[in-house]
Symmetry: C2
Subunit: 485 residues, 2 copies
């Protein structure tokens, strides 16, 4: 285990203060040019040195004929070159004294044949010059805290707390938008590609001590150093939760993984057991990978697995209750004291069982503050799972019908969203109990966005919310057992 993130060999990659860049030109639509543009768009603050045999300047940056001409030894070199010239270029970088490389270029082990030999050669050059290599066949890194993004897509939203290590570059680049829509973000994301040198384990060890990272998400097609991977996971999961999507276990997943990054994968069930032993939470889809990471990164530790469901709609409440049962979460009956405290807020058609079902409510203060306040104080309850339905367009129409201007209605909705978000986060802090929401509406509506910005996870189906809650319960149970063992 590293003592600090600065000790990691990756620190000067993710926090590189100067980068030599091969493969960009004044032709805008090549991958190299797109990635260079991406780095500029992200607002990278360090020095950028494009290397190009002919172009004098690229995107307003002074360009160099060869790496030997650079005025300094940059922290990092990035290569988006045709396969055939990668080795030779790395050799030149070695001669210049560069110690870190991200090789985006593909055409190595994953294509078989000559590619296998070429990848060996690449590693040998790296070893000879002491260069640590990420890749080849990768998209490198995204560190929003350093405005550094070596993927072709634009980073979106604020930096976050999910550290990702991915054997797929797509799942770094293409998740910026996905996470942004959930008001989540990466702390740092690594696309490790063929892992000729730097591998998943190195990245996990970095993220374990990265102060921005609250949860480590892994996309795995195949594990190279199986025993070391499991040992590392076991050490790290004592400190931070790890969630893994492993697709190399099924027959078709395995084949696809091989032609993707040339990695070999082991049988699914074996990994299932091994991962559980090491405290890794397994996800079975990408949606689940981030669903679970969200809750594991955001929520305070629950005392147990007892859930209160609050709803004003019977169907969503019953569906949430069903999901809890399926995942082994418990819905205790409410205590007499709690029921008594709830009474003033419940219409006669309501149910003061669990789920608490109001059947109808038009009082946001009662629904989003008074009632959850009562439920969170009940010592027999560990979680609050609450149904969020604010049909904003209907409310907007009602407000305008009642004489408000569109602008006033919008402002009023905004205020309500602020009130609810503030109320939730205060209640969660005061009670020390996790609050999770679910809705079938768009997550782009004001109220939901407000809650998500404050760190309350909102899922678009109770089944997803409950699966995430279960992961939180299990992780903390595992951690407690390890602590006392």
């Amino acid at each position: 285990m590293l003592n600090s993130v600065e000790e990691s060999p990756l620190h000067k990659i993710t926090n590189a203060r100067s980068i030599a860049f091969y493969g960009a030109s004044n032709r805008p639509s090549t991958m190299g040019s797109i990635i260079l543009a991406s780095i500029l768009t992200a607002g990278y603050k360090g020095e950028l040195y494009p290397i190009h045999p002919k172009d004098e300047s690229i995107k307003g940056l002074k360009s160099y004929r060869q790496v030997g001409d650079l005025p300094e030894v940059p922290d990092l070199v990035m290569m988006v070159l045709p396969t055939g010239v990668v080795c030779q270029s790395l050799e030149e970088c070695g001669k210049k004294g560069i110690k870190r490389a991200v090789v985006v270029s593909g055409g190595f082990k994953e294509v078989g044949g000559d590619g296998i030999q070429l990848e060996k050669e690449l590693l040998e050059i790296g070893k000879r010059y002491g260069i640590r290599i990420i890749g080849p066949n990768c998209l490198g890194i995204a560190n929003p805290y350093n405005n550094l993004n070596s993927t072709p897509l634009t980073m979106e939203g604020d930096p976050g707390y999910i550290g990702l290590v991915s054997q797929s570059g797509s799942f770094v680049a293409q998740m910026f938008n996905y996470l942004y829509r959930l008001r989540l973000g990466f702390s740092t994301a690594f696309s490790v590609g063929n892992e000729v040198d730097v591998d998943m384990i190195d990245c996990m060890e970095y993220l374990a001590v990265c102060p921005h990272t609250k949860v480590i998400a892994l996309y795995i097609e195949g594990v190279k150093r199986g025993r070391r991977f499991l040992e590392a996971a076991k050490r790290i999961s004592k400190i931070k939760p790890i969630v893994a999507l492993y697709v190399g276990g099924s027959e078709a997943g395995k084949k696809a993984a091989f032609s993707h990054t040339g990695s070999l994968s082991g049988p699914d069930q074996l990994y299932d057991g091994l991962m559980a032993q090491c405290g890794i939470t397994r996800a079975y889809s990408l949606t689940e990978l981030f669903d679970l990471s969200w809750a594991l990164g955001a929520l305070p530790k629950p005392n147990g697995n007892r859930v209160a469901i609050q709803t004003h709609s019977g169907g969503p409440g019953a569906t949430a209750a069903d999901s809890c049962s399926r995942e082994g979460l418990v819905l205790p009956s409410l205590s007499d004291e709690t029921r008594k405290k709830l009474m003033p807020f419940l219409p006669h058609t309501a149910s003061a069982a669990n789920p608490v079902d109001l059947t109808f409510t038009q009082n946001p203060k009662e629904y989003f503050s008074d009632i959850p306040g009562v439920l969170l104080k009940d010592e027999t309850l560990d979680f609050l799972l609450i149904y969020i339905l604010i049909p904003e367009n209907s409310i907007r129409t009602q407000m305008v019908d009642a004489g408000m201007t569109e602008e006033q209605a919008e402002k009023s909705l905004g205020k309500m969203a602020e009130f609810v978000a503030k109320s939730f986060i205060e209640m969660q802090q005061n009670a020390g109990k996790p609050i999770i929401g679910f809705t079938y509406r768009s997550l782009q509506e004001k109220l939901v966005q407000g809650l998500m910005k404050q760190g309350i996870p909102i899922y678009q189906d109770p089944a997803r919310a409950v699966r995430a809650m279960k992961a939180v319960v299990d992780y903390h149970q595992y951690k407690d057992q390890r602590a006392t063992a």
Copy 2:
């Protein structure tokens, strides 16, 4: 089995040409007033007669003191009244000669105690006057083809092909927006509430012969007439697919269901087996209910379970392959002929295995027309599962950088979306093979919206897409077996 939808006792409810309405007033925020507003907003074309003891006119409609004063016998009465006056009002409707009622009011069997007796009384009055009753404790019906919506939320989008029968009113009202975002819609949706008279089976039999309905979705908390339900399902599933979310099987689901609609539910595993025997596809979340309904309603019959996956990103491709393996769908190797035909479109880093992974593409015509065209012609393949990634904001930026105006870029994106949608629907028709897409981007982007509008299902995770494909394979296999049995 009915011979036509007109034979159903529900036809004059869903297609009522005149409605007496109890419970609306000039106080805008009561449930009754909201529902009347909803009917008006939907553009209902028939006669509407509000009944109110005092108000002379409500929302511009002439109001009547009592139902006896109406100038005609309306097809239907809707009641959103306090529990205590429902029976008396129904009796008056009976005397007037009204034969159909939707009772929205709650406070009957689901609250226990006196409510149970009150519900019996309601049924007796119905029987005495020959009134068919939907409810109580329901939201009634949404028939977008008749601009009729008795739920408090506004219908959104176009009429669709999903017939819903729901023991939760929320799942009618609150799904308008959900389905609209997917470019789906109800043919007709029934919220059956406590089912004192009209029950789920009556509604299923209606939908079985409803010409707008391609698939029947059920939300079930508990089945009342178990044997008849299963017999009906068995008959109907020969004609139309049925998908059911049944939440009453788990312990907590059962309890929640009881306090919601007072229905009793049977053990989960028993229903699992019984439903499978009757050709019902079971869903385990609301998301899945509509995911499966979408594919079952939209896709042509596949010849088998052999899938071609097309992607330009390795991770999404491998994840999709993994999902196929888990669901028992097969990914055959591509034939030499198909591989040869694909060659002109593949860069050297690409994989002509299955998944076909382009690794990088900037040619929408090749990706969305040429390559799928080749794959759909391969006789060893039954489905095309294609990854859809068009990062619209990046493309827009690139277009503007290249000198286009914002407006031109928008138009150009729109044209591309149109081209792709047209190409897909033509290919699907010509090949007679289903095409399904998956993406991690927002479904609100132009390209995806275009495809969905044409009836191509696009899922936000390959796991969801594959689960839906499996349901389609299984349903047609079941149907074929029944046909030859």
